[in-house]
């Protein structure tokens, strides 16, 4: 694939030059083929494994998660040797889908699979994998934009809704069946011959717990210990870590662990707050990550974090995993009937992206993402107003160029028609005490005295919201100090935006707050008092 070749050459120039500790290493210019640090492979390791590509940023080997949209959000894909943790949604409806997409991608690419579950027999899980979409069919499937039959048909189009049509979708149109990332039809099953042709290993806990595997003394629960033994066994015997002299493996092992941490695994963190073995899960994750880092494997874990009683454990688990994606479905919540979320089935939160071999990571700018399960396809879209409408303050994205925040605010006004934005202040360059007076104005509400003391030159009134213009000054002190205080004022519902942020908002933002259209463009920062939404 030409794209992969160019990616590879870019990666060679930027991410290369790592001399590992192997004694066979003569030259220091080696392309980073994989993360294995203790391997004995000598010479340049050219990446020729199907279904993988090197990352553009750091030459890391990536595999697809099965959802091209998710790959794009994660910065190209899932890096080999890392753990993708999926925080399950409340009724465990959509997270098994992501799990199955991951496994299906492995089958299509010919990777070896290791499926571990305490609830379902891995053979049954494999039977339910979605079928891959091939080139000639995919365009036809895409045109069928039928919603899930559960959502009621609605003829009324909200004023807000048109906004979302303008926003770009995260998915890439499946023009061709590319070698990295495939599309799957959720309504059909994977053909039996593909499953039989694949090499897979299953770990079903009720079967394994009774058998006598050699168990090392460890403080993990027996289920976790057996699973770790099993994974280490497979990795060693099939040669994924290069330590087996008989086997030279050039394939990826995809590990999928379902419902880790649930009581079915013998762990009680979901039942009790301070259980007996509260460190079992975190130790398991640590050792698992150690196994993955030294082998050609990638792992997906789904975990019912909404059941974990102790919040500290969730924080620790997040730190110990590489990528954390949270799913939040609307079923059963008040958002199901909310007209704003009418088109979507839930939200996706990318909670953590690792910084591998780099000081920075490819974080996507868009933070509000929603997913929708169409009849056949699982899509992720951006720009949905995701914050809880019941909260008091609208969250503002820092300096995002995205019109999402405009829609964010418009959503408030659409849903609650009694917004009461009071004042808008434009702080011209550095009029420090005017800025302070302006803030006092917001809190006091008495305009006459404050305007006299502040030296306000012009004022305009329009029902409740008012715009105040201040005189310009040379120094930049006031603006900077106001910016420093922005965190404190956030708690009192006062938003302070910089010039760049204000420009990003766009006219609709201010119109929504019933502010004049003709705003002077000068100014370092702007203060807004937000409305109290019900």
């Amino acid at each position: 694939m030409a794209a992969a070749a160019t990616c590879g050459s870019v990666a060679a120039s930027t991410g290369s030059a790592v001399a590992t500790a192997s004694k066979n290493n003569v030259t220091s210019f080696q392309r980073r083929g994989r993360r294995a640090s203790g391997t004995n492979d000598s010479g340049p390791r050219l990446v020729s494994i199907t279904g993988t590509r090197p990352s553009v940023r750091n030459g890391q080997l990536l595999v697809s998660t099965g959802l091209p949209a998710l790959d794009q959000l994660l910065g190209g894909g899932l890096a080999v040797g890392t753990v993708l943790l999926i925080e399950e949604d409340k009724y465990n409806i959509y997270s098994p889908l992501l799990f199955k997409y991951f496994l299906a991608e492995g089958i299509v690419n010919g990777h070896t699979l290791l499926v571990a579950s305490a609830k379902e027999d891995p053979a049954n899980i494999l039977q339910e994998l979605p079928a891959p979409l091939l080139d000639d069919k995919c365009k036809k499937e895409f045109d069928e934009d039928v919603y899930n039959h559960k959502t009621p048909e609605s003829n009324i189009k909200m004023k807000i809704a048109w906004r979302y049509q303008l926003l770009p979708k995260m998915e890439i149109g499946p023009v061709s069946s590319s070698r990295f990332g495939h599309y799957y039809d959720a309504s059909k099953r994977m053909p039996q011959e593909l499953i039989e042709a694949s090499n897979w290993h299953g770990f079903f806990l009720p079967e394994k717990i009774s058998s006598t595997l050699k168990v090392e003394p460890c403080s993990l629960t027996p289920g976790y210990t057996k699973l770790l033994q099993f994974i280490q066994n497979i990795i060693y015997e099939e040669g994924f870590d290069g330590s087996n002299p008989q086997k030279k493996q050039r394939n990826i092992l995809r590990i999928g662990i379902q419902n880790l941490g649930s009581p079915l695994w013998g762990d009680d963190i979901c039942c009790a707050e301070n259980g007996g073995n509260s460190h079992s899960l975190t130790k398991f994750l640590y050792v698992l990550r150690g196994l993955l880092r030294t082998s050609l494997s990638a792992c997906i874990i789904t975990m019912p974090t909404h059941l974990i009683q102790n919040k500290a454990i969730i924080a620790r688990v997040t730190t110990l995993s590489d990528i954390v994606v949270g799913l939040e479905s609307f079923i059963g919540s008040e958002r199901e009937t909310n007209p704003l979320y009418k088109d979507y089935h839930g939200l996706i939160h990318i909670r953590q992206i690792p910084r591998l071999n780099n000081l920075i990571c490819d974080e996507s700018d868009v933070k509000d993402l929603a997913f929708k399960l169409k009849r056949k396809l699982f899509t992720i879209e951006a720009g949905v107003q995701w914050h809880d409408l019941g909260s008091r303050q609208p969250r503002l994205l820092g300096s995002s160029n995205y019109p999402a925040s405009a829609s964010l605010v418009a959503g408030i006004t659409g849903a609650h028609h009694h917004t009461q934005l009071i004042f808008v202040f434009l702080v011209e360059t550095g009029f420090h005490h005017v800025g302070q007076a302006g803030l006092e104005l917001l809190t006091s509400g008495n305009s006459a005295s404050a305007s006299q003391s502040a030296g306000i030159t012009g004022m305009s009134y329009r029902a409740r919201p008012r715009a105040l213009y201040f005189k310009e000054n040379k120094s930049k002190v006031g603006a900077r100090q106001l910016l420093e205080t922005r965190e404190e004022h956030l708690s009192s519902r006062l938003l302070i935006l910089t010039q760049a942020e204000r420009l990003c908002m766009g006219r609709r933002f201010f119109t929504a707050f019933h502010i004049f259209n003709e705003l002077p463009c000068k100014g370092d920062c702007i203060c807004l008092q937000t409305c109290q939404t019900q």
């Binding site: 790592v18 090392e216 460890c218 130790k283 150690g290 910084r355 969250r395 300096s399 995002s400």
Partner: protein, 323 residues
């Protein structure tokens, strides 16, 4: 024998020490609570011309001054790196490359990432970890790989991560023995390295692996006694701040270390949320400044943006993207 009031503690006895000036130092005869508390605090009076190793500078271009190599070394500093709602690993990479360039002997306990990760980032920052390891300048304990070895194979001699095999929360004594062995001065005559440094990436991981907060604090205490006081080296540790996830053990660890450390670097995310141009905010707190004329417990706050090979700092609200 001149007596000056100590900044902080318990009327420590003063005696003339090295030729560099007055040293408040407690001899090994001190015991009991006084000795236990006070030996951890060593103050050195310096002349005004000598700069502190992280010289406080009021200029708006702090990156030159923040991490400049120091002119003289008095030893025994514990630096605490803390991150809240963001990733503070760039500080660890910085200190690693800083100390390796300063020709120090470094013992790096890397519990959270693999060797290749640090080595690739180190190359971007200008040091080669593999060369340093071959020369003997760097002793690297790779937590992830060692954990696999410990859990799956019974070890003959005590392994630094021996506690992984134990059911009950033990202590970190094998790990401390490893550190002491790694940093002990070689009696070969000439000193190749200037002073020893212990770097620990992510003490919070030890809590996740079953150690109690007290056990980790004991480990740090022992390491400070050896590295900071006996060998006159430095220590840099990273701890996560869990914030609103009520992790009591982590809070105990963080508070305990904050009281013992000389310098606290706290990387926080912006309170207003995600920003593409400003990745976070760094709060620098000197807890025991050595110059009595300088106002004690100085604190600076800078915002930063991490780039591919460096980090740029600027004052709050003064990001180049905004101005």
């Amino acid at each position: 024998m001149a007596r000056r009031p100590g900044t902080g503690y318990l009327g420590v006895v003063v005696r003339r020490g090295s030729t560099r000036g007055l040293d408040w130092r407690l001899g090994p005869a001190e015991s009991g609570l006084l000795g236990h508390l006070a030996y951890s605090q060593r103050l050195t009076v310096r002349s005004r011309t000598e700069r502190n190793w992280l010289g406080p500078s009021p200029s708006w271009a702090p990156q030159a001054d923040l991490f400049s190599p120091r002119s003289s070394h008095s030893g025994g500093k514990l630096t605490l790196l803390c991150d809240a709602k963001t990733d503070g690993s760039f500080l660890v990479h910085h200190f690693l490359s800083f100390y390796l360039k300063a020709n120090c002997k470094v013992c790096f306990v890397a519990l959270i990432q693999s060797f290749s990760h640090y080595s690739i980032v180190g190359q971007k920052l200008g040091v080669s970890l593999t060369m340093a390891r071959e020369r003997g300048q760097l002793v690297f304990l790779e937590g992830l790989k060692s954990a696999v070895d410990v859990v799956f194979q019974a070890q003959k001699e005590p392994h630094p991560l021996q506690f992984l095999r134990e059911a009950n929360a033990g202590n970190l004594k094998p790990l401390f023995e490893f550190v002491r062995e790694a940093l002990k001065p070689i009696d070969s005559g000439e000193a190749r390295w200037t002073y020893p440094v212990l770097l620990v990436d992510d003490l919070s991981v030890l809590l996740s692996l079953g150690m109690g907060a007290v056990a980790v604090l004991d480990f740090i205490h022992y390491c400070r006694a050896t590295v900071c006081w006996e060998l006159k080296g430095n220590m840099v540790v990273l701890v996560h701040d869990s914030g609103d996830a009520e992790d009591e053990e982590n809070d105990i660890l963080l508070n305990g270390l904050s009281h013992q450390s000389h310098l606290i670097l706290r990387a926080e995310g912006l309170a207003t949320g995600f920003c593409r141009d400003v990745h976070g905010q760094l709060r620098i707190l000197w807890r025991r400044p050595s110059q009595p004329t300088v106002h004690r417990d100085q604190s600076f706050t800078y915002q930063y943006k991490i780039q591919d090979k460096s980090v740029s700092f600027f004052a709050k609200g003064m990001s180049p993207a905004v101005l």
